[in-house]
Subunit: 511 residues, 4 copies
Amino acid sequence: MAPKEVDGAEVAKHNSRENGVWIVVHDHVYDVTDFLDEHPGGAEIILRYAGKDATEEYDPIHPPDAIKDNLEPEKQLGPLKKGSLKEEPKAVEAAPAPAATTAANQVVAAPEPYVKPSLDQILSLHDFEAVARMSMSRRGWNYYSSGADDEITMRENYNAYQRVWFRPRVLRNVGNVDYATKILGFDSSMPVYITATALGKLGHPDGEVCLTKAAHEHNVIQMIPTLASCSFDEMVDAAAPGQVQFLQLYVNSDRARTRKIIKHAADRGVKALFITVDAPQLGRREKDMRTKFEGNASAHQTSGKDKVQRDSGAARAISSFIDPGLCWADIPELREAAGDMKILLKGVQSWEDAVMAAEAGVDGVVLSNHGGRQLDFAPAAITILPEVVQQLHHRGLLFKADGTRFEILIDGGVRRATDVLKAVALGATAVGIGRPMIYAMSGYGTEGVSRALQILKDEFEMNMRLLGAPTLQHVNPSMVDISALRMPNVGPTAYATNYELMMPAGTKAKL
Amino acid sequence: MAPKEVDGAEVAKHNSRENGVWIVVHDHVYDVTDFLDEHPGGAEIILRYAGKDATEEYDPIHPPDAIKDNLEPEKQLGPLKKGSLKEEPKAVEAAPAPAATTAANQVVAAPEPYVKPSLDQILSLHDFEAVARMSMSRRGWNYYSSGADDEITMRENYNAYQRVWFRPRVLRNVGNVDYATKILGFDSSMPVYITATALGKLGHPDGEVCLTKAAHEHNVIQMIPTLASCSFDEMVDAAAPGQVQFLQLYVNSDRARTRKIIKHAADRGVKALFITVDAPQLGRREKDMRTKFEGNASAHQTSGKDKVQRDSGAARAISSFIDPGLCWADIPELREAAGDMKILLKGVQSWEDAVMAAEAGVDGVVLSNHGGRQLDFAPAAITILPEVVQQLHHRGLLFKADGTRFEILIDGGVRRATDVLKAVALGATAVGIGRPMIYAMSGYGTEGVSRALQILKDEFEMNMRLLGAPTLQHVNPSMVDISALRMPNVGPTAYATNYELMMPAGTKAKL
Amino acid sequence: MAPKEVDGAEVAKHNSRENGVWIVVHDHVYDVTDFLDEHPGGAEIILRYAGKDATEEYDPIHPPDAIKDNLEPEKQLGPLKKGSLKEEPKAVEAAPAPAATTAANQVVAAPEPYVKPSLDQILSLHDFEAVARMSMSRRGWNYYSSGADDEITMRENYNAYQRVWFRPRVLRNVGNVDYATKILGFDSSMPVYITATALGKLGHPDGEVCLTKAAHEHNVIQMIPTLASCSFDEMVDAAAPGQVQFLQLYVNSDRARTRKIIKHAADRGVKALFITVDAPQLGRREKDMRTKFEGNASAHQTSGKDKVQRDSGAARAISSFIDPGLCWADIPELREAAGDMKILLKGVQSWEDAVMAAEAGVDGVVLSNHGGRQLDFAPAAITILPEVVQQLHHRGLLFKADGTRFEILIDGGVRRATDVLKAVALGATAVGIGRPMIYAMSGYGTEGVSRALQILKDEFEMNMRLLGAPTLQHVNPSMVDISALRMPNVGPTAYATNYELMMPAGTKAKL
Amino acid sequence: MAPKEVDGAEVAKHNSRENGVWIVVHDHVYDVTDFLDEHPGGAEIILRYAGKDATEEYDPIHPPDAIKDNLEPEKQLGPLKKGSLKEEPKAVEAAPAPAATTAANQVVAAPEPYVKPSLDQILSLHDFEAVARMSMSRRGWNYYSSGADDEITMRENYNAYQRVWFRPRVLRNVGNVDYATKILGFDSSMPVYITATALGKLGHPDGEVCLTKAAHEHNVIQMIPTLASCSFDEMVDAAAPGQVQFLQLYVNSDRARTRKIIKHAADRGVKALFITVDAPQLGRREKDMRTKFEGNASAHQTSGKDKVQRDSGAARAISSFIDPGLCWADIPELREAAGDMKILLKGVQSWEDAVMAAEAGVDGVVLSNHGGRQLDFAPAAITILPEVVQQLHHRGLLFKADGTRFEILIDGGVRRATDVLKAVALGATAVGIGRPMIYAMSGYGTEGVSRALQILKDEFEMNMRLLGAPTLQHVNPSMVDISALRMPNVGPTAYATNYELMMPAGTKAKL
């Protein structure tokens, strides 16, 4: 006996969880309402076809009989009455790729007008950077994205990671992977912290408290910047009870003022102090400086005492207090002022200084070139990490007198969990991430930062599985190949469009 | 006596095999009907000029008297009567190159509208890739062509081969070259097999059976994919009697299900089992994931339980069953379940794991990073092949207890027979080819795959001659120079247009 | 009691030093007249907002209470009367970046018409080069910017510096940094001199005296060129009393003439003589040579004796007197003719010749390839500097018999103080800068050169601080990493737009 | 007494050698008729200004008083009468560079319509290549310019030279430089010969006899190609008495035919035989093959026996006679057949085969990969030259039993005399140049080839002076730095526009 045909009009009514979900595959009708939550591909994709013909979607990704094998007979409702189901126009996804996107000389252009992608369209930290570039004020973008001189070091920070390859291991049980760690003894959900960046309100009106809140959500540590748009107390107030915060410190020529800041930080519960040692003077960032000349054609007619100090961008205006005389002799006093707080040097760029730091009794160093914003041609932190670890090890300095680790943190150029895992493999405890976090904040506020941190977590889980590393202890030097690390960088980078050409004076960008 | 002149009208009548073939060269008429099949350049080129003046075509590629020297006197019909042969407009080929193609900043643009080239215009596997890019659905192209994260490894797979140079030998008798081999003891017409790729119906409505049929035509082995659009049995049914097939296996968390699959494979005559060990979780392929957002502007308004899982492309939807806990301890059970089938590990990425595999008693490994679709910055197989061979050799593991070879296969990035020969020279038995085969299938079905395999054969014949290698045994390590193998990759690749720029969210391609 | 509100009209009147300066921040009015000169960011930025609402500018770069904390209570004038201050249209700087500048495929285009930037918009030596390219006569630009053959060496001169990384030190007292030095015993405000370049009037009607005057302003030494547009005496006359000048010398086939020149130089007080040894014949600079053919379509119809010598640019026309027979045997005579003047060889390109020079008793060498204008594929000076120093040291030749240094100067490709510091670290006394100075002169005359020298000074101060080098003695080999120095150059350079593609005959540039 | 003023009308009459030459400089009139031939910059440039005001041209390239110092008083005719000389419009050369050429993203475009440059505008071999690309038939261009597979080796041939740096020496007497040499004992005006290339009439209707004639003019040796468009006898007939010619030989499967060719060559006075050993089968050159499909849309409808053999370009059609079985055992017979002619192997690509060749008693080898037209990824000759020389030396094979040199020639990728000098420094006797010669011939016939050879001579003279090498004996290994020779190639090449992107099927070039 031929099975009874089902009318398309009946099918079309079963178009939601509420109304029941029927779909048509190869001219047969199925009731998949109860199967929704068992579907390996998720319920949502089925719901898109509720009350419709799903054959075209179904076909390429299932063996022919999958639906019959998985559905009880009584849910297999019978053949569709021919022609009774109104056909829909095909989805765009199935259409051939338009010429514009299949052609070779693809360039990334701002759609006119620019529409900011929704947050769930953001798949990586690169995306946040692209959104920031497209949607921030030019002043803010120029301040955040600029580097010293010709921006060689700024680009190298990113590029150097591209010269480290993995050596993944297979057939290890990675059903559960654990990427939690401790930084200076404090819990962190991953080997990442939000490092200090200045002038957050150039990106978002709420400023750095966005970072504070998102850090809490994801149990990562925020390093409070000295040159923030929010005040120190605002950032501490924004923290949740028990939330760990570190403080970045520029040492003032007026040491009393510095001692006062340190004391206040200790009083407010800050756990570690990061003395900035790579910025006796704030760097020239010419892209930032060029901002001044835009839209201000008459400015160079100013003269005399009030003449515009045109060779300064946002950075220089705010940094005149930094003491260029700070030296090793000052460390004991700072060490003492810090009291129970940990104290680290941020901006170490050679193994010699890492050794001196360990010998000076601080708790660790951040290998950093200040995001490529200070001395151009300073090395990327990842390139010197191996020799720093080796030299400290050679001198027995990887552990302090109390048996705890002398901690090596690094920052600069990180965009992926894979970058972090390379640093961890080479001996870093954790990696500071700066620009990507303020780009996320600039585009989407706290929610953006939170998404950025979640993306990193997803990447850690995936990549540790694929590396064959159930825990961070498994991520050791044998997992990376650094034979090309000191070679010149090559080729265009992925997401090359996030980097801008250097623009000499008198030239301008053009599509 | 002056020879009798021949009238052009008479010449024009002799314009085919049927009517006889006369041609004019330097104002003399020749009857070349009987010479057609002796012509070193083939009959066809002469037939183009049957009944016409062939001087312009003839001149640059023959010494002046070639035609007189090769044609009996009675076929030399005499001088053409002046002006009696109607001149044709010149062929396009003889025209000066148009400005558009001689200028420098050439870009590859989709002609409007795109016309798929005929199959005989396809000269290399690169061509199939270009056709696929131009003519596939965007969804299919994005699924096939995407790689993990920033697609560094995906590109490196191809690029690494560009850093291996040949050391060809001369004056060896290469009148006959033999590139046939055995893979795991089974005959193969060349050191190539079709490796497993998923979701074939995204490219062609017939799906993977196209591969099965073309593999048979050319006596190469197909590895049946677990995640095919066709069912396992469809692919086995499509095989010819005696046709060798291998099976790729994702091990299921439910081992009973895996045992059932293995048993069924053995029953159906599958010869070898390739346990996928580089995919405890399927990789993020962001280009594939971005497909979801196209043409679906309102999608992010969905909320609640049925919210679109937007961070998943086609790959993630189909892979939830894979067991991330699979480990070395599981190998004996799988080994035993495989029975008479060979068993290999697919996705080994370090010499350490190759050694462990040999010690675990499997029959070989596939050095592979899953086409650059899993862990970004995993090394290209060809870069680790030398050390894998060396370490196995060092430990006496290149041969198994029964005296047969522990086989090393590799895949990823192969586009030319030269690539394969480099791998063979360095110790691989054979090379798996994936994407190029499904690109060929996407454009032209079974016939396309068959053409792709024939192109490879033609390349093998040519390149082994030019290498001075009459057989594959002659293709040994002395034939390659790998001094640049571990250096950073450089420069744009040939056929750079087949690779796309990474496109961050909120940007789009533009001509 | 609520504080008295201040009317916006009153605020607007206080808009200058003369009228007093009031500003509004977060709806409160402040009198900052007396604070102007204490403001860390300078008075000017405040004056821009005199009589206006400064909140938007103030916010991102100050903690919220900064103004209240820093201003005495009586200067805090009270709340602004709501709506009483006329709002201004927003400054351009705050506007979102226009699509044209945020998009990726940025190209540098000449605005139509080209407007030369004001001198205070010039931030680096690259800028001068861009201005020269945009605003000079084509003949002048082609003469200055061209190099030998394919301009490989010319580009390498610049590129080689990009392969040297710094190894900066931290926590050294760099409150005061001193970059003054002595060159051949003569004071120089920095380790830089203006090297000889020819035909200055192609760039500026005043010619090389601009260089003389600016050199004096900044206490740097000028090397007077033989092939200048100004006469030797004009350049000496333009010098200030006591100003040190050196002289570049092409040795004439007529040695009497050369002796006469040397004597005259000594009489006029020149301190050192630089014998050019890399130019027995002036190089072919094809870009320069191509200048001849532009706008002169009928020229190749000239014939006979007066036929245009088309294979010569500006350079060849002026150099027929140079003696290609000059050799080591001539040095003693030149040495003697020089009398009290120092004598050096300019254009040494191998350690062998540096050793021979030291043994020949001259006072030093300039490692130079003549700006890449002579032999293409000559090495960049910086790449051979390490071996020159090593070999001289090995032979005990770094110091002369009188205990003074055998001086090693270098030139070619320098654009930044960081470049100079790399050369100094590797053992050079000072660096000659040529093209950037004449580009500065071409655009802005003496004032331009002066600005260029000031920019270098600013860069020295900054970069020595960031290097951790209080004096040039601290800038030693341990401060640089040259592991990539001999590797092939890679990637596009920063400011790539300052370099032009090679243009074969019959092609032309096109936007 | 004020000197008498000269009227501009009078000046204007003195505008040629015949009428006398007066010029005006800084408002004074000078009679330079007798000075014309003493002018260091040549007479022609003065003649351009005969009867005119030359101040603007004079100023930048002369010291102010040069004209007065060099001209006798009676030739200094006095001040120009103000306003009496009609001003001319400024020459184009003095005009500011137009925006189109100063802007950055320069592309090389074919002017519409294309105007071939006059021969005196051709400054380098690159220029001939550009002209050929712009003006040849597409078929001819595609045949000449194509390489094997992805054209990696073809490009590497050129690129490898870019990785060799010079180590020039100074202060050597280079008043006279001598770049003449002997090749196989025969005089050659420079270490260059014209190597064999096929199908010359694709470029020029006269074919290869153009090469013969130009070779004679410049006393260089031509290697006669087997696959020429001209017949062997035509090329020999075109030679001048005593002109040395070599012969390239493809060995035929029919050895009798080969012996006949050899005998004929000996009879006609050929001096050396070059056995082609790198072409047992002619390579696939896909760009050449694609030519077939252009302008022939209906071709793929042909079917049956006469179906177009579409996978063949011009090359395959003419080469079916080549014997792929040729091997070392055949050498003695060929050696004997050659009689008094020298015999060499052309196409050796490893030191092993160079050693075998020397041991087999031939007179030398050509290190060659057939212009990158045979096996892709064959090494560039220059990269293997050092090890070939070293291994031959090590085995005492650099000299033959009779005490003459075992000669090492190389070809491929040469565009400049500097390339040749690098090869000579590394041990090559001479370098074969192929494509550049047929490009010169294609554009300008015999005269073009002659100009190409003259350009090389000019380059040799210049570059040997600049190298400090009076003779070729001075050009030894100490003059080159090959530390980067085996590194991956980098960056875009100079004259990048002469290379075309690979174009997959179905795509086309577009401006």
